[in-house]
Point group: C2
Chain length 176, copies 2
């Protein structure tokens, strides 16, 4: 049923996720869908709560900070370029009015900035990034434009874009 829900969501948007259509799409009786999720919104919240975080790539170990950040952002962008972008767009449109969806959104999107901040913090402590760097802000500056392109412009996020982003954002804060 959740597979069918994900399919419906990706194909036709959140409004298509109804008890009836989930039942039809998954070959299950309508009553069964009601038993699991009495409220229509519960189906979506359940699906979205189980959705994987937007990226999970463990930052590779000994490489220079620029490489590690670039790798992290690329796996992140790959998820956004795929199905993750649509799911994220749906969540943003729902989270404004549904606290449960917002919680799921927080869980889904918090891991990325966190590991990026950790990466930057590691760069500071190992002396490759300026000490007065605000890791949280720098993380926003790297991730924000990527979301912007995907969600507002519906543009694909290319490796070249990420390279330019990293070099102009992180570049000026690097120490020799």
């Amino acid at each position: 049923m959740l597979d069918a829900t994900r399919e419906l969501l990706s194909e036709s948007g959140p409004e298509a996720v109804t008890h009836l259509r989930v039942a039809e799409a998954s070959g299950v009786a309508r009553a069964t869908v009601y038993r699991h999720w009495p409220d229509r919104a519960d189906i979506l919240v359940d699906l979205l709560s189980r959705s994987a975080a937007l990226h999970l790539s463990p930052p590779p170990p000994g490489l220079p900070i620029t490489e590690r950040v670039t790798t992290l952002l690329r796996t992140f962008a790959a998820t956004l370029n795929g199905d993750g972008g649509r799911i994220l767009a749906a969540m943003i449109g729902l989270a404004e009015w549904d606290d449960d969806v917002f919680s799921a959104l927080e869980r889904m999107t918090s891991r990325g900035p966190k590991s990026l901040r950790d990466l930057i913090a590691a760069g500071i402590s190992e002396g490759s990034v300026q000490t007065d760097t605000d890791a949280g802000l720098l993380s926003d500056q790297l991730i924000g434009p990527i979301y912007l392109r995907r969600l507002l412009y519906h543009d694909e996020i290319t490796d070249g874009y990420i390279d330019r982003l990293v070099s102009t954002t992180l570049g000026p804060r690097l120490l020799a």
Copy 2:
């Protein structure tokens, strides 16, 4: 009717915008709503197409580039902190599956980056910004984090955040 639609959208989200509820909320017969917008989505598309752009502030004239950018971003953030944030979130959630909403989204969000790029381009030509600056990318770097905070974190965008954003993003590219 469109006022009632806006109210419904802001209060209860896109799914609450139905012929019936618009009719009730605006004190109009249900048939009248059907006459104007035979399809449910038409109501929202019509409303969103008429929505003002996200910011309109004409950049003040002779001030230094940093001041002008900061002013622009502040009026932009003010709209996002208000009702514009919810409307934008709804549009992002709909634009993924509705081309008309996406067109409206483009019109709504294109003016901001454009005037920001123009501002940066002016800064380059008047010699206060480095000549190798990519105005489009710099614009994304300034606007992206603001969208990020509003849409994903549901955080208010403070003047202090914008100040830090401008100083760390635009600062390194300024010429004496």
